[in-house]
Every structure is written in structure tokens, then in C-alpha cells.
Symmetry: D2
Subunit: 145 residues, 4 copies
Amino acid sequence: MEAFPFRHRQRVRFGETDLQNVVYYANYLVYAEVGRVAYLRELGLPYADIIANGLDFTIGEASVRYRAPLRFDDEFDINVRVGEIRHSSWAFEYAVDRADGLRCADMTTVQVMIDRSRFRPTRIPAALRATLQKAKEAEGARPSR
Amino acid sequence: MEAFPFRHRQRVRFGETDLQNVVYYANYLVYAEVGRVAYLRELGLPYADIIANGLDFTIGEASVRYRAPLRFDDEFDINVRVGEIRHSSWAFEYAVDRADGLRCADMTTVQVMIDRSRFRPTRIPAALRATLQKAKEAEGARPSR
Amino acid sequence: MEAFPFRHRQRVRFGETDLQNVVYYANYLVYAEVGRVAYLRELGLPYADIIANGLDFTIGEASVRYRAPLRFDDEFDINVRVGEIRHSSWAFEYAVDRADGLRCADMTTVQVMIDRSRFRPTRIPAALRATLQKAKEAEGARPSR
Amino acid sequence: MEAFPFRHRQRVRFGETDLQNVVYYANYLVYAEVGRVAYLRELGLPYADIIANGLDFTIGEASVRYRAPLRFDDEFDINVRVGEIRHSSWAFEYAVDRADGLRCADMTTVQVMIDRSRFRPTRIPAALRATLQKAKEAEGARPSR
């Protein structure tokens, strides 16, 4: 149940730290964003295409569990996988691991599909749903890291 | 159950928005920070005093439920109250309301007390616990806003 | 020559600091933004009105001279005044002073007027030019603080 | 005179944009930081080593000239080179180029060497000076890109 099909390597920026000498807590949601944008690109769903189809998504919920601090210049991986898929929303789950494997944070975000003409939630289109579903199934098939 | 004993007015900065023309989702955790720092000051617990006592706190968990967007130049209130108080941690609960009363986000953060000499969780000191407990009781006594 | 007709009080946020225990250097440009938005509102030129007139402005140049650090929870003033006014651009000059008067930074930004229909520089409209010119003259008339 | 000996590829994050659908102007100083940290590492001067030697540096001046906007998901290079070297400070010069070569910004920062025991400016140590000098000479020897 720990399988993540995708990871994206980043390095902690100086400006992401705070006076406690660790990454400021809100920046983990920035890392989640960077991870999901990279994963969507990997799945053949670049954000520009979503917009071009008159759709968009917004974040409905986000949660972070902080486990160990990241510090300036640390390299780390943002692991991403698809969580629950519903009518007009789906979840991404994330694990932020320092390059040596230390688990630093677990996160979840819920994406809500939006119709750009009305700016209201709308059904996830069939093609996107199929891609997310396929990605989710591939996760289950993978051995744990 | 909606009573918040404290609110702190802020205005959305240009740099807090993103290309969707709304406040970027990670910045709500910044607003939570601004609210809790202001509330701790109101409770007579400025952060400098906590540090001066060899203590510190870190965030163990954070969650946000996004309800309506804030936009550039909107004025809004960060409402804060004490949530559950445990052995070495306590929760703050937040509501972000646009100045006209529109609920934009609900948030929770869990603060973990840290002993600065060992950088490990430690029991909440008696004086801080008493202050948090008293603040929590005052919330219950207040009529809902 | 040190007269600033306008100042806007703020307090340093935790998330604005970095591991050197001072405000991260890029955040001074955020403070400049907060100051100029507040000054434009004071001058009767809220950003929404500029946009409503089919105009916008972008920043063409920015410079900061760092003099003394701001730290978490410090209160400070962002002082703003109009600098040089040209055909399609004008300057704002800023001084960031800690609440006790310590000069922390001097800044300049150059705003470039943009026609939103073509996204190209355009002449500053007469009414805005008159307001900026009047604000600039008022500065000269004021005694230094 | 356009030779840059070093470049560091990055991609624009969603959270780095603002409501004008471009990268928020203060974030270019974040890009400068990312570029100089990467260049110092390339020169064999990781920040951790500077700190381990009881030294540090702070930014004394920063300036940006904005030429063309970067947008979400754009790939870009942060080009860095050593500028003027003085007694206790030196400059870095930067060019931010979109991946297709469009020049988006020119920047300069002045680093001031700090003695961590007294937190005051101090002479650039001989070894660091030699490294910066050598990097600067290598720039001159290189053909323009």
C-alpha cells in the first residue's frame, strides 16, 4: 500500500526555509503542487491541455502530516499517486522523502473539476477519468518501493 | 459551536494570488500562521517569550478545506480558537471569512511543543496549558457570531 | 529630500523569514507591492479601477538596497512616494523603516502602463498622470520626517 | 560580454504566478538565489562549507530589469556569472532566459561577506576570493553563447 508510481526530485531553496532552519510548513503544499503538475504531465495531461478544453481544477481540500524536517539544500522526492476518484473530484496522495529515504511528510489534496464557462464543479470528463483510473490501477500492480 | 473568540483582519496581497485570479492555496496556511501568532500575542504569549523559556513549537499537522475564493485586495478575517489540548500538543482551529462574511476556508493546525535543547516533543508547560485551557473555556462561554 | 507622504504599517510574518533568522531578501519586493497598492488606494486609484479602464501596469525595473535586517514579529513602515514620471512609466520610491525608526531598506520600482487590449506599453492616461504629479508636488511641500 | 559560464534549468511553478498570469516580480529574486546557490556548488563552494568556516554572506543590493514575462510551466535557464569583486563583497550577474532563448530578465546581486561571530562585514577569505577570481577569468575566456 506504499507504492508510488511517480516521483519528482527537487532541492530545498534558501527562500523556502524559515527562522527555525527548516522548510516553512506552507511550502509543503507548494511541493505537492510541483509533484502533481509533474505527474499530470507524465500521464499525458499537461495543464495547458486541460485549460484548452474549457476545464480547470481547483483544490477543495489539502492536508499535511509533518514527520521530519527538510533543510536548506536537501534533495528530496515528491512521490505522487492517484487516490479516490469521485464524480467531480479526485484525490492525489503524496509522500515527501529526503533523498536518503527519510519520510518527511505525507499529504493529500482533493482536486475539484471546474467548468471554466460557469466556474462551477463539473463531472470529470471521460478521458481524464480513464487516465486517472488507469494510473490508479497501475499503482496497485506495482511492488512497494 | 461556531464561536471564535479572536479575529485578525488582513488584506489579500497581489503576490498571494495565482494565475486563476484567486489566492494560491498554500497561502491559506500563511494566513493560519498570521492568525495564530496574533492570537498568541493577544493571550499574552508572544513567540519571543516561548523561545526565551527554552521552548518552541512546530506544526505536526495542518489541514484546509477551501470553500470560496479570496481575490486580490479583498479584506478578510482570520478567526482563531483553541481546539483539543493534549500532553505535548494542541490544536488551533481557524475560519477565514471575507469581510462581508463569506466563509472562504476552514483550517486546523496541530502545534507540537518542542524542547529546544533536545529538539524533541515535550510536555506543554503548566502556565501555557493553563492559558490555552482558559482561552478554550472562554470560547464555549461566548455566544456564536 | 527624505519626505515620504505616505506610510503603511505591517508586521513581519514567520513565513517571511529564512534560516538566517531575518526577512528573506525577495520579500522586500512584496513589501514594496503592499506599500504601493496601499498608496494608490490612498490616492483614489484602487487597482480595480485601473483594470476597469482597460489599463494595467507591470513592473519594468526593481532595485533594493538592504541596510539592516528585519526579524520575525518586527513592526515596520513601508514609506512610499512618487519618483520620476515619464511618458508610459513612473517610479515609486520606498523606504522600509522598523517601527523604532531604523532604516532597513531603500527600494525603487518602475511601473509601466499597459494597454490590456494589446498588452503593450501605452501613455499614462491624463487623469492618472495628474494624480501622480499632484502627489509628487505634495511630497516636495512636506517637511521631512 | 554576454558570456555566462553557468546555467541552471528550472520550470515555473503554479504558485509563482500571479493574477496577471505571469511570474510574480519578486520571484525573480528567488530564481537568482537558486542560480547562485547552484553556481557556488559548481564552483566547489557549497553553502554548508562557507558556514562551517564561521562565515556567511548576506545580500547588500539587488536589482532586476524585467524584459519579457515567464508563464506557468515555462522552462527557463538561470545564467550566472561573477561580477565585480571588492574587499568584502562581490557581485553576481544573472540572465533569465526562457528555454527558447527569449531573455526575460537581467539581474544583479551584491553579496557581502559576514563574520558569523560578530555578524559584521569581513574580508573575503583568500580561498573564496581565488575561486571567484578564477571563475571570473574563465568567463572572459569563453565565447559568447
